[in-house]
């Protein structure tokens, strides 16, 4: 009698234990299968791409209908467009975030900006491309050309408009991370600075921003990495299938600088075009894997840098608040 009574809970307990183990196994499977998939994808790209990466591949222009040669114009294009993009997006994004956190009173305007930023982040990237082409090139560009009588200078796809389109796309990334960084600075530091007679802007410039610069930098790097990887917004706003020259102009005839009015070749667009539109998709396979590897390494190291930077600054900020 007693043994039977004891046996029932035991059986139940064992069933629960087995169930527990099964569910935990499922959970581990669900968590680690995607990671394995990621490793598999990266592994395949590295394995197939590493063979073509040579110094010549990275520093020379494509030749013979892009079936041979390097991808230097694409690397140059990606670097210059992300530079231009961050030059546009960073002042606007950081400025907007500082205004929201430090100046604006919590009210309708801040809510409107925040809602706008949230929704900006959710819009599909191809819609940005559509907007960039319709608004920047066909509307702003054409009117600028008419007013300034510059012929066809602004009203065509070029790096400036592509960078502006990407800048709007990455604006939420910068605003959100800057806001986060500013909010992490303890309020007491601001009060202390103001109590000593510093003005609002002096406080922001000399007390708040130096502490928040790590977070802002992280946001900027994430934005650059995002911008470098996006293809859809620049499809019709400035990318070129092939350009025999680099988008460089000589300022005053001597100082070389990036020409924002020129079209450009770009890594992600190059991958897309070589894989889907080129006639020699099979023949150029190694080049495509090589280009993909370069793009992945670029975004990978940017993201890794951002993650490390963020954890570093989170730790140091934690120490500040503890004091």
């Amino acid at each position: 009698m007693t043994t039977a009574l004891l046996a029932i809970p035991n059986l139940q307990a064992r069933r629960i234990n087995v169930l527990e183990a099964v569910f935990m196994a499922i959970l581990h499977f669900l968590a680690y299968l995607p990671v394995c998939a990621l490793v598999l994808i990266l592994g395949k790209i590295v394995h197939s791409g590493i063979g073509v990466i040579t110094w010549e591949f990275l520093t020379q222009a494509p030749v013979e209908g892009m079936t041979k040669g390097g991808i230097f114009p694409c690397i140059f294009g990606t670097l210059s467009i992300t530079l231009l993009m961050i030059l546009i997006a960073l002042p606007i994004g950081v400025g907007a975030a500082i205004y929201m956190v430090e100046y604006a009173k919590e009210g309708v305007w801040v809510r409107v900006i925040r809602a706008a930023v949230n929704n900006l982040a959710g819009i599909p990237s191809v819609v940005f491309g559509l907007f960039g082409m319709g608004f920047f090139i066909l509307f702003v560009g054409h009117h600028l050309d008419e007013v300034l009588r510059t012929g066809l200078l602004f009203g065509k796809p070029c790096m400036l408009w592509a960078a502006a389109t990407l800048a709007i796309l990455v604006l939420p990334v910068i605003i959100v991370s800057t806001e986060e960084a500013l909010n992490a600075v303890p309020q007491s530091h601001r009060s202390a600075s103001m109590a000593l007679g510093a003005t609002k802007w002096q406080t922001i410039r000399d007390v708040v921003l130096p502490q928040a610069k790590g977070g802002i930098l992280t946001g900027a790097i994430l934005a650059i990495s995002r911008g470098a990887g996006e293809t859809a917004p620049i499809l019709f706003t400035g990318c070129a299938y092939f350009l025999p020259r680099l988008p460089i102009v000589k300022l005053f005839g001597i100082i070389p600088m990036i020409n924002p009015m020129d079209q450009f070749m770009e890594l992600s667009y190059h991958i897309f075009i070589m894989a889907t539109q080129s006639t020699n998709a099979q023949k150029t396979m190694p080049i495509q894997f090589g280009t993909t590897l370069v793009l992945i390494s670029l975004t990978f190291f940017l993201n890794l840098g951002a993650i490390l930077l963020r954890s570093h600054y989170r730790k140091s900020l934690g120490q500040v608040t503890l004091q």
Binding site: L33, P34, V94, I98, V117, S193, T199, W201, T292, I307
Partner: protein, 343 residues
């Protein structure tokens, strides 16, 4: 003693020799100093206005996108009736009768602008990918928040963030060049490029979004709830399944909605691997064309301010509205959850 106590209040970063302080200027009180004070105040004012302008520009751009997209999209209805967005009666010369055609065929003697095949395509890619990434995303989120040790989490989370950082064109390239052929062999599909291959690719970009949000909402569940459950003798799994997950269910559903929005908006993967034939179909292994891929594929050769140009803006506006509504919906759910958990 006193001085030592308040010593930390000294501003470490304000260098009084280089920056004019009000204190220094008002103490002397001569005219030139007062003038500096005035320019100084003007400087403050200018800085504030500049920062406000930056905020305004951010709003301006979203307003511009909204206004511009809809202004161009509405022009479409000047020449085409709204009924055409569903289908069009076309006279078939072979069968010698009128047929109702639901197709997208912008370049044709009789242009047809039915959105049905595009909506079909978007849905056939986004829905399976959301289901798959929700299963893995929720599992992974639970693992990260409830099961994994701190050390594991410190490794796994950044790895997943790097996951999210992979450009979508790379995923598209991988699916097209490496995964498509084996997948065709496994599923014996008619087309090498089909909605399912696209859905698998999109899963890779939707997954990190779902994981992050699921983990966040599980972590927001108060510890007391879990401890109460354990105290009643529940096992770890029972606690997760009966207590933690139900408490965070609104966050989890918001995560799935946002993942779905992300999947609908994905362009490059879908453009590269789904074949892009605009068909009205319910078959996941059929070739499809999504709203996003349609814009990307046709925008290149469209004529400015033509019917076709406005049609593409209409597609963009539809996409905008769908993702906008999904975002608002998710935001409302999340806000409700935050309010509930704060109580």
């Amino acid at each position: 003693m006193m001085a030592q106590d308040i010593g930390w209040l000294k501003p470490p970063l304000v260098d009084s020799s280089s920056t004019p302080s009000i204190y220094r200027m008002t103490r002397r009180g001569n005219l030139s100093q007062l003038l500096t004070l005035k320019t100084f105040r003007a400087g403050e004012w200018i800085v504030e206005k500049l920062l406000a302008a930056a905020g305004m520009i951010s709003i301006l751009f979203i307003a511009l996108i909204f206004v511009f997209l809809f202004k161009e999209a509405l022009q479409f209805f000047k020449t085409v009736s709204p009924m055409d967005l569903i289908g069009k009666w076309v006279y078939d010369e072979y069968d010698e009768k009128w047929v109702f055609k639901t197709m997208w065929q912008a370049i044709s003697s009789v242009p047809k602008y039915s959105l049905l095949p595009l909506l079909c395509g978007s849905f056939l890619v986004a829905f399976p990918s959301t289901v798959i990434s929700a299963v893995f995303g929720i599992g992974c989120g639970i693992y990260l928040s409830e099961v994994a040790s701190d050390k594991t989490r410190e490794v796994l989370k950044p790895t997943l963030e790097l996951f999210a950082g992979i450009p979508s064109v790379v995923i598209g390239f991988f699916m097209l060049m490496v995964a498509a052929t084996p997948l065709q062999d496994i599923f014996h599909t008619k087309f090498r490029m089909n909605a399912f291959v696209g859905a698998l690719g999109v899963t890779i970009v939707a997954f990190p979004i779902i994981v992050t949000l699921v983990e966040d909402s599980l972590r927001a569940v108060p510890k007391a709830l879990r401890e109460a459950s354990y105290a009643l003798g529940a096992t770890r799994w029972q606690t997760i399944w009966r207590t933690t997950l139900p408490a965070a269910i609104s966050g989890v559903s918001a995560a799935c909605i946002l993942g779905f929005g992300r999947a609908l908006g994905e362009t490059m993967i879908v453009l590269m691997v789904t074949g892009n034939a605009a068909l009205v179909t319910g078959n996941v292994f059929s070739t499809v064309r999504s709203l996003t891929a349609n814009i990307a594929a046709e925008m290149g050769y469209v004529e400015h301010q033509s019917e076709h140009y406005y049609a593409l803006f209409l597609v963009g506006a539809v996409l905008f509205v769908i993702t906008f509504v999904l975002n608002i919906f998710a935001e409302i759910i999340l806000n409700r959850m935050r309010r509930k958990l704060r109580m």
